[in-house]
C-alpha cells in the first residue's frame, strides 16, 4: 500500500515538475528568440502569466462534445505519456509508473494526444484547423520515419525494446548512446525539430497562413489546457531523448541541464529559418535523416 501511495505522490510531483520546467523552457525560448532579434523580450515567466490569464478567461462557447474534450484528451495523454517515461535513472519519486518504458508503446501513445487535438480541431469546422491537421499528420509521416529508424537500430543493436534497458546499457558501458551509436543519434536529432514544430517546421500552426491552425477555435480554458499539455509534452519528449541518447540523469539538475541543451537546438534553428512548405518538410525528413537512419540500421545489424 505504501508503494502505491509513494507512486501516486511521485506521479503528481513529476507532473508538476514537467509543467514548471516545460513552461520555463517556453519562456526561455521566447526570451532567447527576442535577444537574437535584438529585443528585450518578455520575462521568462511570461508563459505562466499567459496560462493563468487564459484560465481566468470565460469560456462561453463550444462546438460540441468533441471540441470540449479535445484539450482534456491532450493533457491526459501528455500526463499518461509522462507516467511511462523514466525521468530519473533511479530514485523513488521520478521513476513514475513505468513498467520499463517500452519504446513502441511510447511511440504510439505520443500520437494519441495529437489525435485528440485533431478531432477537436475537426469538430470546430474551421477550414484552417482542418488544413493544419492535414499538414501536421503529413509532417508526422515525415519525421517519424528517421526517428523510428534510429530507435529500431538501437533496439536491434542492444537487444532491448525498453527505455530503461537502453539506460542500463549506457550506465554499464559508461558511454552515452549518442557516442556509441552516432548515426542513430544523428538521425534522431535531425528528426527532432519536426516534433517540436519550431521553424522551419511550424507548418501546423502557421499563424500568418492558417490563423494558428488546429487551435484557432480554442480560447480561454481550452487554450490554457492545451498550452499546459504542450509544455508537459515538450518535457516528455526532451526527457525521452535524454534517456535514450544522453544516458538519462541521476538528479534533477543534470536532467534540466541536459534537456535544456537539447532544447536549444530546435529553438536556435527555428530563430534563423523560414517556414517550409509541407512537402518540402516531408522531403527533408525523407532525405538526410532517413539516410542516416539507414546507416544506423546497417551499423546496428552488422
Amino acid at each position: 500500500m505504501e508503494g502505491i501511495g509513494y507512486k501516486i505522490l511521485g506521479a503528481v510531483l513529476t507532473t508538476i515538475l514537467a509543467f514548471v520546467v516545460g513552461m520555463f523552457y517556453g519562456g526561455f525560448s521566447r526570451k532567447i528568440t527576442a535577444r537574437i532579434q535584438n529585443r528585450v523580450g518578455p520575462p521568462v515567466w511570461q508563459n505562466f502569466l499567459d496560462v493563468l490569464k487564459l484560465l481566468f478567461k470565460k469560456t462561453s462557447v463550444r462546438y460540441g462534445f468533441m471540441h470540449h474534450i479535445a484539450p482534456l484528451w491532450m493533457i491526459s495523454m501528455s500526463i499518461t505519456t509522462l507516467m511511462f517515461v523514466p525521468v530519473l535513472n533511479d530514485g523513488l519519486f521520478f521513476t513514475n509508473l513505468n513498467f520499463s518504458g517500452d519504446i513502441i508503446f511510447l511511440l504510439y501513445i505520443m500520437v494519441m494526444g495529437s489525435l485528440g487535438m485533431a478531432l477537436g480541431a475537426g469538430s470546430t469546422g474551421n477550414p484552417n484547423s482542418a488544413i493544419g491537421v492535414s499538414r501536421g499528420l503529413t509532417q508526422m509521416v515525415g519525421f517519424e520515419i528517421p526517428w523510428v529508424m534510429a530507435l529500431v537500430a538501437l533496439m536491434i543493436q542492444y537487444k532491448t525494446t525498453s527505455v530503461t534497458g537502453l539506460m542500463e546499457v549506457q550506465s554499464q558501458s559508461g558511454t552515452w548512446l549518442m557516442f556509441s551509436s552516432p548515426f542513430a543519434f544523428i538521425a534522431a536529432l535531425l528528426a527532432m525539430p519536426g516534433m517540436f514544430r519550431y521553424s522551419p517546421f511550424d507548418i501546423v500552426g502557421a499563424p500568418s497562413e492558417l490563423a494558428s491552425g488546429p487551435i484557432s477555435e480554442f480560447g480561454g480554458k481550452y487554450l490554457s489546457t492545451m498550452m499546459t499539455s504542450g509544455s508537459i509534452f515538450a518535457f516528455v519528449k526532451l526527457t525521452l531523448y535524454v534517456d535514450i541518447f544522453m544516458g538519462g540523469a541521476s538528479n534533477l539538475i543534470v536532467l534540466v541541464l541536459k534537456t535544456f541543451t537539447l532544447y536549444m537546438y530546435p529553438v536556435l534553428w527555428g530563430t534563423v529559418s523560414a517556414r517550409f512548405r509541407t512537402e518540402q518538410s516531408v522531403r527533408y525528413f525523407w532525405g538526410w535523416p532517413t539516410f542516416f537512419g539507414f546507416i544506423a540500421l546497417i551499423y546496428a545489424a552488422f
Binding site: A34, L49, K53, S60, V61, I215, L223
Partner: protein, 181 residues
C-alpha cells in the same frame, strides 16, 4: 473560503495581474494605422516585453485593435469579430478616425464615433499615432485592468440593446448571428 470577500479580492488581484501582463491582441488592420503595428511589435519598440503578443483568431484574443477609420461595411465585421472574442475583452481605438471620424468626418460611408457601436476602453490619439503612443496606450490599458476599470465588455453586455440599436442603424442588411454569450 470561496465566498469570503477578502479571498475574492486576492483572486481578483491575481487575475488582474495575469490579465494585465498577458495581452493577446487582434489587430483589425483595414485602416492606415495598421502600418504602425509591425514596428510596435518588432525589434525597435518591442511590445512583447509588456507581454503583448499577436494572436491569430478572435477566440484567443484579449484586445481588439481598431486601426483607423471604419467603413460601414467593415463595421459589421468588426462587431462579429468582437462578439466572437471571449470575456474579458478590450477594445483600443487607434487614431483620430475612431474618436471623431478624423479626416473622414464627413464621409458618407464611414462611422465617426466608434464608441457608439463598440465599448472602447482606450483611445490612442494621433493621425497616425507613433509606436511610442501605441505603447503608451497599452500601458494605460494595463493600468485600467489593474484597477479593474477596463470593463467595456461588461458595459457592452449590460447595454446590449442600445448598442444593437446603434449598430442596426448603420448596418441596413443585418444578417448577423445572434449574440450568444
Amino acid at each position: 473560503m470561496y465566498n469570503d470577500k477578502e479571498s475574492q479580492k486576492i483572486v481578483d488581484i491575481i487575475q488582474n495581474y495575469a490579465r494585465k501582463h498577458s495581452l493577446f491582441i487582434l489587430a483589425y488592420g483595414t485602416g492606415c494605422g495598421a502600418i504602425e503595428i509591425p514596428p510596435t511589435m518588432t525589434s525597435r519598440y518591442d511590445a512583447e516585453r509588456f507581454g503583448i503578443r499577436g494572436s491569430a483568431t478572435p477566440r484567443q484574443a484579449d484586445v481588439l485593435l481598431i486601426t483607423g477609420y471604419l467603413a460601414t461595411k467593415s463595421l459589421k465585421r468588426v462587431i462579429k469579430v468582437y462578439e466572437q472574442m471571449q470575456d474579458p475583452k478590450y477594445v483600443i481605438g487607434f487614431g483620430s478616425c475612431t474618436i471623431n471620424g478624423g479626416m473622414y468626418w464627413d464621409s458618407y460611408n464611414t462611422i465617426n464615433v466608434l464608441d457608439k457601436y463598440l465599448p472602447v476602453d482606450v483611445y490612442i490619439n494621433g493621425c497616425m499615432p507613433r509606436p511610442e503612443a501605441v505603447i503608451a496606450g497599452f500601458v494605460k490599458l494595463q493600468k485600467l485592468i489593474q484597477q479593474g476599470k477596463a470593463d467595456g465588455w461588461d458595459i457592452y453586455k449590460k447595454n446590449i440593446d442600445e448598442y444593437k440599436a446603434n449598430q442596426k442603424k448603420i448596418i441596413t442588411n443585418w444578417v448577423m448571428p445572434d449574440f450568444n454569450f
